[in-house]
Symmetry: C2
Subunit: 204 residues, 2 copies
DNA sequence: TATATTTTGTACCATTTTGCATAAAACTCT
DNA sequence: AGAGTTTTATGCAAAATGGTACAAAATATA
């Protein structure tokens, strides 16, 4: 018997929206990391009380993993849009890095970096699953950069002799560095200069 | 009146060596971060009891700052040695990255990344002083890369037309990325490939 | 309206954590 | 040897934290 999604469930209706709560938990985790975030922080961020949190997401560790995976899924879509835009390579790369910058900056303008790199990796030694999920997502981005440069080469935007994988590595390392620098509070002029310089090296 | 360093102090002698204790505290902080490390962890790592820790380093926050600054001072010396070696650029860059890899790998072979990037930056939003210290140290490394490439250009190892600052940025972003990837458990073959590829792009 | 069901809100418990108080220990100086 | 000084060791108090029990609230169904 399949549960009809439109059936209203039996008991008291939930006061929270699960996807919204996930995004709300992202904030304290992003700012303070797993260990630095208390259940009270999560409770305050989501406006849910503790038992509801447990019922919805399990313990703190499970909640963090789900927030991490939700972040990856959400940002993947943003990156894909930038990577698949049918524009010249220079403009394409710029869109990818603009996407990164937008993700890595919090709404108040303060940089906080990539959630994976800035907030999740600290626990990669304690929790192997975190390391695996993050590494897999990083590799997915790596492949996207390589694909993008290969397409550019096929279109004649890059020399047929160019070492595409090596240039992709240059593009990849910038992306990881953007996270590090924005979390460290690097001024945006420097960040943009890094981007311009790297695109210059890649596109010649 | 200047205190004679050879004078034995008056009371019960310390059972710990301050610099050694600093390095011991580095381990749990590196692995678990500031929030994830308890005073019991520090006590166990240093074999000092709590009151001695307080007397020697102040509270946990002050201890972390001192560990961070000690790490920066120690690794600075290692990097300087690599940067100032009188060898061809390719070899010089390789030595710098070999230094980084050695620092970023723990003794049991598991990668843990740069202490600043992997362990300190998570608290950069909470503690502005951490952000400032880390950013300053990153900039110092940035300048070292630029200087090294400038020297190579003067020696004719790089084209007079080459955009040295742009190439330095490529070198810099690899270094930051090495930390990220090693913390994420990237396999060393991939890490070394990143290095080879980046050196290839810089040195042509 | 009564009952079953699910969520919410309050309160609570056990553990961990930070920080400190106090006395014993180990040393120097007189 | 005795007094003075500094560190160590034990232990404790207050607060924070993770997790849960339980009754009240809100809904669908009979």
């Amino acid at each position: 018997m399949v549960q009809n999604i439109s059936d209203k469930p039996r008991g008291r209706p939930r006061a929270y929206d699960r996807p919204t709560a996930l995004k709300s938990m992202r904030e304290p985790f992003w700012e303070k990391g797993f260990s630095g975030t208390s259940l009270d922080d999560l409770s305050a961020a989501t406006a849910m009380n503790r038992p509801s949190l447990y019922n919805a997401f399990g313990d703190k560790s499970a909640a963090f993993m789900e927030v991490l995976e939700d972040y990856i899924a959400e940002t993947r879509a943003l990156y894909v849009a930038a990577f698949t835009a049918d524009v010249p390579l220079r403009e394409g790369l710029r869109r990818v890095y603009d996407t990164a910058i937008q993700i890595y900056a919090s709404e108040d303008g303060k940089g906080r970096g990539c959630f994976m790199i800035s907030a999740a990796l600290i626990d990669s030694l304690r929790d192997r699953e975190i390391a695996e999920v993050v590494l897999k997502a990083l590799h997915e981005l790596d492949r996207a950069f390589r694909r993008r440069l290969k397409i550019a080469q096929q279109k004649g935007e890059l020399s047929p002799n160019a070492d595409i994988d090596a240039l992709a590595t240059v593009a990849i390392t910038l992306n990881n560095t953007l996270s590090v620098r924005m979390r460290a509070g690097e001024d945006m002029a420097t960040v943009r200069k890094f981007i311009d310089q790297t695109i210059g090296v890649i596109c010649g």
